[in-house]
């Protein structure tokens, strides 16, 4: 299996063609999509046409871009003109956006070919893709197990070699956790590095689009394409996009790495062993390991489950049946809105809307939402204090490997706890990634997590590259 970088090179030099790459991708999707439920919509016709156009441009001697002819899977909470976009919700079934997300425009400009839309937990709320209104996605490594979530479809697309790269979104771990469970690389960039314009919001202050790939270099390549200022997103960082691929082999010599107790405690023994071995690998590559405790991080989960639902309760208000999506008629406008929302939203979405509405209510605001904002500030300060001592942090991505279907759906808290290590970074707005390192139960992959201060993607990717090599993927 080629990497995205290799495909782009082959297509650009004529060793392959965009058409051949798209046909290969379509064949891989056809082979396993019924079994795994990765793609909700396969955009074969448009992808084939886009490939032909790229091949023509290359034949004319034009330069196409760093992702020339590379098929890519798109999480179905990203808007693409005229392509069904559902957020895995009955609410939006059949809706086709009249505009492109900024990241789609950037991908197309770089020569990438969107292959279709991948499954997710409804409105990105979940950690297993079991909350999709259109059925769960299965983990390609063991179809009896979940791929993680919420970007389970995009992670599975890469793990099943349907595409070499894909887009996810990460609000509390929704890229890193499925990357870990599917044995691939996933990056949650610095908040504001990638434009959110066209990303259907779950929790606006936490959401961030990021890449999935098999290799660290491909994530660097894709993130370079995605990153950069966008005037359509007020929270976009107005700074030059970082150079990542050029630094991916910079190594970690001389770096100080914080091994954070709160980011691995309570994990399965195999996970603990992987984190320890990753620390050893970084040390051998010339880094200094510093054991740290950041107690504030243990408060992150509680704060997150007030802030994210509060924002979601407002972000999801617009699904009222008036302007787009599905409508269930009612005797009057209020009844119509109620019936529409009752039909359109699944149980987890309703649970979070209720949580968030409660947290923002008069009389409860200070005790819940207001208190959560204070914890968020504590988290930001605690991370900043740690980054004054070390260059980046090391921990686990998830407490265990991919779990079997239904094991956590009965107890929302058990599901929420799967994100305990990934959530604090989102609260701080800092970047973090998951890179496969070792295996655990049933020979399933384990991901270790690297976390850094704002805009430290190049450092984190270089460190991830060190671990990738140490784990036997040169």
């Amino acid at each position: 299996m080629k990497t995205a970088q290799q495909i782009a090179t082959a297509v650009t030099t004529g060793a392959s063609s965009a058409t051949a790459e798209v046909q290969a991708s379509l064949a891989a999707i056809a082979a396993r999509n019924d079994e795994l439920n990765v793609f909700l919509y396969v955009d074969g016709e448009r992808a084939t046409a886009a490939a032909a156009a790229i091949d023509e441009r290359i034949a004319r001697g034009e330069t196409v871009g760093p992702l020339a002819g590379v098929p890519i899977a798109i999480k179905d909470n990203l808007c693409q003109i005229d392509v069904p976009t559902t957020c895995s919700s009955k609410m939006l079934e059949g809706w086709r956006p009249p505009y492109n997300a900024t990241v789609i425009d950037r991908l197309v400009a770089a020569g990438a070919i969107p292959m279709g839309k991948t499954n997710l937990d409804e409105f990105a709320m979940g950690s297993s893709t079991e909350n999709s209104a259109f059925g769960p996605t299965r983990n390609p490594l063991d179809p009896a197990r979940v791929p993680g979530g919420s970007s389970g479809g995009s992670a599975a697309a890469v793990a099943a070699d349907m595409t070499t790269i894909s887009l996810g979104s990460d609000t509390g771990g929704s890229i890193r956790q499925p990357a870990a469970l599917c044995g691939i690389v996933g990056v949650k960039p610095t908040y504001g590095l990638v434009s959110r314009y066209g990303l259907i919001a779950f929790a606006s202050s936490l959401d961030q689009i990021g890449p999935f790939s098999k290799t660290v270099t491909d994530s660097a390549l894709l993130l370079e394409v995605l990153a950069g200022y966008d005037p359509m997103d007020s929270t976009s960082l107005n700074e030059p996009a970082p150079s990542l691929v050029a630094h991916v082999n910079d190594g970690v010599a001389g770096k100080r790495v914080g091994l954070v107790k709160e980011l691995y405690e309570g994990s399965d023994p195999e996970v603990l062993a992987s984190v320890a071995k990753a620390a050893d690998a970084l040390r051998e590559a010339g880094a200094e390991i510093v054991e740290l405790s950041i107690p504030e991080l243990s408060l992150g989960l509680s704060a997150y489950y007030l802030i994210a639902p509060a924002e979601a309760s407002s972000n999801l208000a617009r699904y009222d049946g008036v302007r787009f999506g599905n409508r269930v008629d009612g005797a009057d406008v209020t009844a119509m809105m109620e019936a529409t929302r009752t039909m359109g939203f699944g149980a987890e979405v309703k649970r979070r809307i209720m949580l968030g509405t409660y947290a923002l209510s008069a009389g409860y605001f200070d005790a819940y939402y207001g208190q959560a904002l204070k914890v968020r500030t504590l988290t930001i300060n605690a991370f900043a204090k740690a980054y004054a001592q070390v260059d980046f942090l090391l921990g686990a991505t998830t407490p265990g490997v991919a779990f079997e279907f239904g094991t956590k759906t009965k107890d929302p808290m058990a599901m929420y706890l799967n994100d305990v290590f990934t959530i604090p970074t989102n609260l701080a707005g800092d970047p973090a990634l998951s890179v496969p390192f070792g295996t655990g139960e049933a020979d399933l992959p384990i991901g270790v997590q690297l976390l850094g201060p704002g805009r430290s993607e190049a450092t984190l990717l270089a460190a991830a590259r060190v671990l990738e090599i140490a784990d036997g993927r040169p």
Binding site: P97, A101, G198, S314, A317, R318, D320, F365
Partner: protein
Amino acid sequence: MTQLPNGWEMVVGLEVHTELLTKSKLFCGCENHFGNEPNSNVCPVCLGLPGSLPVLNEHAVELAMRIGMALHCTIAPSTFHRKNYFYPDQSKDYQISQYDLPINANGYLDLPDGSRVGIERAHMEEDTGKTTHVGGSGRLAGADRSLVDYNRCGVPLVEIVSAPDIRSSAQARDYAAELRGILIATGASDGRMEEGSMRIDANVSVRKAGEPFGTRCEIKNLNSLRSLQRAIDYEALRQIELLEEGGTVRQETRHWDEVMGETSTLRVKEDAEDYRYFRDPDLVDLAPSQAWQDAVRAALPAMPAERRAAVVATLTTPTSAQLDAVEVVIDLGLERFVHAVVAAGGDAALAISRVANELAANPEQATSLDVASFVTTLSMELSGALSATQAKDVLATLLANGGDPEAIAKAKGYEQMSTDSLGAIVDELIAANPDEWGRYKGGDDKLAGFFTGLVMKATKGQANGKAVVAELQQRR
């Protein structure tokens, strides 16, 4: 103005919403224009389509700052919140509005009568769409269906909240009128109340002088100065009657019925929605730089009060009728023309009166009116060469076609009547009305008007009123 009975005093605060005269909407590039085909000025952002994000319009911020500066407010770093409630004309089912940290706070507005009304805040927010209920009663309940036009959704608004400093309906009206003049002067608004670009809510309570504030009621959407004044008077008297009968005022929102001339309950406080305000995470804090503020302040035009004072200064001892005319001149934005006429030797009082009355219908025409010709027309009137009626007619021709006022007067046959022919007419009329002449001779000066009227009728308005009075005096 209604006088309140038994020592009662009203306490009024006004909330004025004004649409800003920007080219585009507050958070997207859609055209901000009234009267287009429904749902033609819309895009993913103002329609609240999934995934769309707001981006603040800088020109709207500048206009908001101009309003704040004109109202002597402090310009402060501010934030945007979401006001959450479900309603179909609200495309996101929340409204983006400034909440605890507004861009403008703690100002004041001085009224022409010398009173000062505090301004608590003047904050930015987005307007909603417009719902039309079809069938049934034409109101939401019982309508067959509702149509929503989102052209207005996302139009920038500034809400100006006064302190509860207003003590009469007349003062409320003066405040609204003065504020409207300021909004127009700053270029922030066209002040068109009938089109809804300026809308007023009034908070009214009553108390006995010196006592603490009473419970207030809010009257929504008053769309003329007359409605404002009538509604406040009605509401204050309603509350007084209630209290004097031993009742209590319930805090509520009330609707003003222009036809019935009364207010009625719209919703009571217990039904008030919990808007669950919180900072909009899609927007960043707004902190206009000092340099930007300085530039806006430097470009701020003169406000009505200052302009009014400059025009009044051209009059020696202004009468109240003249002050009213000055007000009209300021409203028309024609004081620069008046100043030019006075500088060119025109009589200030007459110039102000003629501008206020003769140019009001079409103030744009005044910009092409030749100052020298206008001054000549005024001089002809003052010298008696033209009667007032004739002077107005010459002015109308000047406005429509331009030209030389003396030639126009000649062409219209407005030649000055000779003293001899005027005297003959006067003699004739005296002979025909001996009783009235007797009373005039006996000292009843009012009869001068009677005879002047007869002369005017006989000469078809060509006689000069002053000359007629002189002839009468001679024969007395």
